[in-house]
Structures are given as structure tokens and as C-alpha cells.
């Protein structure tokens, strides 16, 4: 990539006033550092992936209202986690976390178990049981 071709597109980085380093060649064909404010191709990829997370979240909210999934599923996705990550934070096996995502199982969970989730999501027990969705 040539230095004058280093993309200077609008991105979430440029909004935060951050520029990133890329390596590019100058007129004499020598490599050096150059600053980029963002690149459209990358921004699209990032935004699409955020859109997907949002879509999934809406779907989960729908399933919670249908009485299928538990609020844990909502908070998990709100925090951009998956079962693997969440299991790491609460310290339960993955299969156990998967069970807790079901509305029926969630109702039977002990206060102690619920507290662990509430702590990880940084919400109160009340908020965990009745998320504002």
C-alpha cells in the first residue's frame, strides 16, 4: 500500500479521535509508519457484526417473552458474551450455563446461583429476574 492510499475514512475510531498505525511505502518505495483514521471495508465488517449481535438480542428478547428463554440469555448477549465466556465468568460448567438459559430451569435456581450471575452482569437480583426488555 502506498502512503497516499492509506484510507482516511470515518470510523468509530475517528469519532474517538484515535488513529491507527499501518505500514505503507513512500514515493521512493521505502516502508514507514502511516496513520489511518479508519477504513470503510473494516467499518462495514465491524458494524455488520454488531448488527448481528443486536438482531440476536432482539430474537432472544422475543423468546424470553414467549417463556422459552431465561433473562440470563438476555444479559449474556447484552454483554456480548457466549456460553463459553459466561461459563468462565460464573465458574459453572458450560452444560450447566446452557441449562440456566431455559426459562423453566431458571425459575428453580437458588438465590446463591442467581447472585453469581447478577454479580457478573453487574445488576441487582431484582433486575436479573425482571430485566427491562
Amino acid at each position: 500500500m502506498k502512503k497516499e492510499e492509506v484510507p482516511q475514512d470515518e470510523s468509530s475510531l475517528s469519532k474517538a479521535n484515535i488513529k491507527e498505525i499501518v505500514y505503507a511505502v513512500d514515493k521512493d518505495g521505502k516502508y514507514g509508519k502511516a496513520l489511518s483514521s479508519g477504513w470503510e471495508a473494516k467499518t462495514i465488517a465491524l458494524n455488520k457484526s454488531l448488527e448481528l449481535i443486536e438482531e440476536q438480542l432482539q430474537e432472544t428478547i422475543h423468546k424470553i417473552k414467549q417463556g422459552e428463554l431465561s433473562p440470563i440469555a438476555y444479559y449474556m448477549e447484552l454483554n456480548r458474551m457466549d456460553v463459553v465466556v459466561l461459563s468462565g465468568y460464573v465458574g459453572f460448567w458450560q452444560w450447566k450455563v446452557k441449562r440456566h438459559l431455559k426459562a423453566k430451569i431458571f425459575k428453580k435456581l437458588s438465590e446463591k446461583t442467581l447472585k453469581k450471575y447478577a454479580e457478573v452482569f453487574e445488576v441487582s437480583l431484582e433486575e436479573l429476574k425482571n430485566p427491562k426488555i
Binding site: M1, I21, Y23, Y31, I44, S49, Q56, D82, Y89
Partner: protein
């Protein structure tokens, strides 16, 4: 307490940390040189590990390898600590800082408060340097940030003990005693040799074969998993290739910059020519990223579009194969 540490922004976090830490310890070494000596140029496709609901692609070796390889090839030792207890982790960090020793830390990205929200994912192999403490704030040199920044002790603990794949467990590392004499030529040769061996490896998911394999999958995905998922997977590929935080930043260009520098040190003009070839390949990767992003922006449904970008990826695989075979010849 503040250590007189020079912050240099870099394209890739681990390179940056290594280069900045070595600079502090008296060894001037550029980011591309670190990357090249560590055989940083790489490709692997790991379909059975999912990151953000898509298979993992990596353009670099496993986190931590860059520093280990550089230390081995330049002949110094690295001290590493991992912890179960958060208190011990902080004590060890404070003790090193008190000894005027800036340290590298492996951290999770999600709770890095100075990152824009859009960049915060549960990715645990980010690297930064802590170079001091003022009150309850740690002074942070994050190599992908333009300026130095700070994190409170609580914030730092959170990112040091992030959970999930590659959980850092408070991982802290720093170089110990650097040798008086460093044989750069030998280190460069070793770095290049491992790079082409990996990129030409007879393993279907690694190197140019891995790229070819992904191209093949792209042709199948639309029918197998639908356009939506395919687009998401492509997005992941683009992000792993380029994104800040994950330690992206145009790896092919960093390698090309390394070859240019290496050509002078090795007195081997062929490496400068190969640097130019690698630049062309880097540009091909960027073309691919542009096409892939257009594809999912316009939600194209025609399978032909997927075949076309798969063709592009096939071309890249071929170009990289030829390139690394040439590199092999050049270093003999």
C-alpha cells in the same frame, strides 16, 4: 512512580509491546523487525473454534509466541508469571514497577475503558505495557493507542482476569538481562526459515493451503449455511485481517517492511525485491476485503458473487505459495 518509558504506537499489539520493552532495555529494534524475527506472518483457519459465532481465522501465531521466539532467537530470557489470586497478581506487578521495570501484560479487550465501545469484544489476547503507578491509577502504554493512558487498579484487575478463551490469568512478562552481543543476521535467517516452513506446511488449514481451503469453503457456504451466516463469516475474516484490538493491522505490509529492513542487514538485495512482492500480495488482501465488505453490505444473494471472491482468495493463496517458495530460495 513513573518509569521513563518511551511509548511508540504500533500496528500490532504484541509486536509493539516487545519492541517498546526491548527499546527500554537498551535494544533498539523496530516493530517489523520483531514481527519478522518472530515469523509473525502466518495464516490458520480453525473451523472448530468459534469466536463471536464465526470460525476463527488467524493471520498471526498464537499470542505469546512472538515474544518467545524473539527472545530465543536474540538470546535473552523472559520472565513470565500467571496467577490464580488477584492480590498476588497486583503485588507482583507493583513489585516490578518498584524495581523500575516496565512490564508487558496480557489482557482482555472487553473492559478496556479507553477503547471505543464498538471495539469491545471478549478477546483475551491483547497486550499492553504498565510503566508506572500514580495513586490508584496504573500508567498504561497500549501500543495500538496514539498516546499513553491510565487504568484504575480495579479496571486493570478486570482486564487481567478476563475469562473465556485465552484467559490471561493475570499474565505478566518482561525480558531479563539482554546479551552484550546480538546476532541479528542469524535471528533474521531463523525467522524467515520458520515463516516459509509454516506457510508452505503440508497441513490443510495452515499457510497457503489454509487460504485455499477457506476459498473452497466460501464457495460452499451460501448453500450450506445460507447467505447471512456466510456474510458474517466473511466479516470475521476481514476483521481478523485488519482490526485494532485483535492485533490486526495489515500483517502482510508489516512483513514487507521487515524484508526491506532485513535486506540491508543481510546485504541481500533479493529480499528487497521480495518485499515489493509482498506489498503486492498485501494489496491483494485489501482488494479481497473491499469485495467481501461490499458483498455483505449489499446483501448480495447471487452465488456467483461468492465464487468471485473465492477466486480472489485462490489467487492470493497461489501468490503466497510462489512468494514463500522464492523466499526459501533467497535465504539459502
Amino acid at each position: 512512580m513513573k518509569i521513563n518509558f518511551e511509548h511508540n504506537q504500533s500496528a500490532h499489539c504484541e509486536n509493539g509491546v516487545v519492541s517498546n520493552l526491548l527499546n527500554y532495555n537498551g535494544l533498539k529494534i523496530s516493530e517489523p523487525m520483531v514481527f519478522g524475527i518472530a515469523s509473525g506472518v502466518f495464516f490458520i483457519y480453525i473451523p472448530f473454534i468459534k469466536v463471536n459465532f464465526a470460525p476463527a481465522f488467524s493471520f498471526r501465531p498464537v499470542p505469546g509466541f512472538i515474544f518467545s521466539r524473539v527472545s530465543k532467537r536474540l538470546g535473552f530470557k523472559i520472565k513470565r508469571h500467571k496467577f490464580k489470586s488477584t492480590e498476588k497478581a497486583q503485588q507482583t506487578l507493583d513489585a516490578e514497577l518498584a524495581k523500575n521495570n516496565p512490564v508487558g501484560l496480557q489482557v482482555g479487550v472487553y473492559n478496556l475503558t479507553y477503547f471505543p465501545d464498538e471495539y469491545r469484544f471478549h478477546f483475551n489476547a491483547h497486550n499492553l505495557v504498565v510503566y508506572g503507578k500514580e495513586g490508584d491509577n496504573y500508567l498504561i502504554s497500549d501500543p495500538v493507542m496514539p498516546e499513553v493512558t491510565t487504568l484504575s487498579s480495579k479496571e486493570l484487575e478486570k482486564v487481567r482476569f478476563a475469562k473465556g478463551p485465552f484467559a490471561p490469568n493475570g499474565h505478566i512478562y518482561y525480558p531479563t538481562q539482554l546479551p552484550d552481543h546480538i546476532d541479528l543476521k542469524k535471528a533474521i535467517t531463523k525467522g524467515i526459515k520458520q515463516a516459509y516452513r509454516r506457510m508452505l506446511a503440508p497441513v490443510p488449514i495452515v499457510g497457503y493451503r489454509g487460504i485455499r481451503y477457506v476459498a473452497k469453503q466460501i464457495r460452499k457456504w451460501p448453500d450450506k449455511i445460507g447467505a447471512k451466516k456466510t456474510n458474517h463469516y466473511l466479516g470475521q475474516l476481514v476483521r481478523m485481517q485488519e482490526e485494532i484490538g485483535t492485533g490486526g493491522g495489515g500483517f502482510r505490509f508489516i512483513f514487507a517492511a521487515f524484508l526491506e529492513e532485513a535486506s540491508v542487514i543481510m546485504e541481500n538485495p533479493r529480499l528487497a525485491e521480495l518485499s515489493k512482492e509482498m506489498t503486492v500480495i498485501g494489496d491483494q488482501w485489501r482488494d479481497f476485503a473491499i469485495d467481501a465488505s461490499r458483498l455483505y453490505k449489499n446483501r448480495s444473494r447471487e452465488t456467483d458473487a461468492y465464487n468471485k471472491i473465492a477466486d480472489k482468495l485462490d489467487m492470493i493463496a497461489l501468490a503466497e505459495k510462489a512468494f514463500f517458495l522464492d523466499l526459501k530460495k533467497a535465504i539459502k
